[in-house]
Amino acid sequence: MKRLLENLTPTAIRARAAAWLGERIDLGPVLRWMGKKTVPSHRHSWNYLLGGAAMFLFALQLASGCLLMLYYQPAPSCAHESVRRIMLDVPYGWLVRSMHVWGANLFIAVAGLHFLSVLFTRAYRRPRELTWISGMAMLLLALAFGFSGYLLPWNELSYYATLVGTEIPAIVPGIGEAVVHFLRGGDQLSGDTITRFFAAHVMILPACFGLLLLGHLLLIQLQGMSLPLGLTQRQVKDQRPFFSEFLLIDVCVWLLLLGLIATLSLFLPAEMGIKADPLKPAPQGIQPEWYFLFMFQTLKRMPEALGVALLALGTGFLLLLPFVDRNAAREKRDGRVTAVFFAMLAYVLIFELWAWLAPGMHHRREALTAETYGLCGGSVSLLLFWGVIVFLVVYLQRLFRENTRIRKLYQADETVRPVRRESDPV
């Protein structure tokens, strides 16, 4: 009996499970790789958190998207009704959909910050050209996620945003009309458009994004973390092990993001809008999501061909940037390239603000009347949720400091003690 109890302790169960797995799969190389993976510690190290944060948000989108798929129906006659049902009838449907909508916004924002940090630290430089291109492709796919997901509630805003967005390729001579037809599944926006946007949003884009993400991560593992341009190895204070230290800080950021999304979802739940009707003219104040606003303003203020050509040129320049900015590979900062970055950033910010501040662009928020939605009760739940998040963050930080301390002790020990060779007598 005593022996049986000894065999059932958590340590014994873990050891037996590890032995069982070890007999079938040799985990040695994986564990050795996990031990070797490090992240350089310097004054710009926070940049390394952004990619992980974007990845976490993508995972959160997959999870909330799967939940939404349980009730959503992609057809013009019932899409808006099914979204209404999710928001009002399905228990906590408002929370799941709001988290999906806010998660999408934060995903684009964090991916954008990741992009900017890589851009300004010139981390795209040789030999990381492929990492940059795969990252850029993922950023474009993230925008495609936003664009395809925007149509799915089939409301007036999304209907006209899609109508305009899918019309843009028509400007390309020759194949433009065919591309528009392909995107819409016909000449006009119809049921065929919503089903293909749904297919793209839940299957095609995630599959492409997943493959690119795998390639992106593989390249990062093979090449290691890059250092910002101008920073030498000597300025790197420390090499932190990823799994025992850096990941803990990563998880802190993820938890804070989760809290932020839950807070935004409670106080500003996602809206449903008015059901799209092709017989009604486009409503006043129509606009796309914030991350397309600068493009929207470009199309509004410039001749269409010029606007589209400028946007295409900017995207092409960014995609091929590692091959354009040759000086970065030689560890030199090219002032002209920096000037181009700032000019592009200024253009995006000015056009965003211009569109944002235009009169008639803001509307009253819809009031939500779902049975499970209550600002008062929700606030109490949210407070408890934040309590758990803060608790976890505090203890993750403590574990992080403890792991660093133990590692430093080991390192100090190894520098004092002469390294023993295997051939030395014990």
């Binding site: 006209y160 305009v164 016909g186 017989l279 003219p281 509004k300």
Partner: protein, 157 residues
């Protein structure tokens, strides 16, 4: 065993044969897939549409929308003293949004990128590059026949 040039050439030949075969298979699969996904068969819009008096009779300064197959149509009667019925394809020539008539300003307006047209369909301001496309119309008894091509009006009669 010594590798001879002929072995290498055979290898290259087999490689190019397999590569060519794979490319042919890829093209063979891609063409129908593209046709399937693109659904490129175009359904032409109806040749003409017959409107009953209830569809087209409007007081001055009022408008109505209806569908011509998949195409939205804007019918508007200009205010007095003009008092004329005008019929346009209700899609903005800029980026295809549906336009609407604004009574107060007596103009046609596209909210997507703020394009303004006058009641004759001419661009007044904003990004639209061309005037609105008008419909051809013809009265027959108390009915109104509208068509995108003039010759189709004859078919209707």
């Amino acid at each position: 065993m010594k590798l001879e040039q002929s072995h290498l050439e055979r290898r290259r030949f087999l490689g190019s044969m397999l590569g060519g075969g794979a490319a042919a298979l890829g093209v063979g699969a891609a063409l129908p897939l593209l046709q399937y996904a693109g659904n490129f068969r175009r359904l032409p819009p109806p040749e003409f549409l017959v409107l009953q008096p209830a569809d087209y009779e409007l007081p001055p300064g009022k408008s109505r929308m209806l569908m011509y197959g998949p195409i939205p149509v804007l019918l508007l009667r200009t205010p007095r003293p003009e008092n004329e019925l005008r019929i346009f394809v209700a899609t903005c020539t800029h980026l295809n949004c549906t336009v609407g008539y604004r009574e107060q300003q007596n103009c046609i307006f596209c909210a997507c990128h703020e394009g303004y047209y006058d009641t004759a369909g001419r661009v007044v301001s904003g990004p639209p590059p061309q005037p609105l496309r008008p419909f051809f119309s013809k009265r027959k008894d108390d009915k109104l026949i509208i068509a995108l091509e003039k010759e189709n009006l004859e078919k209707a009669s």
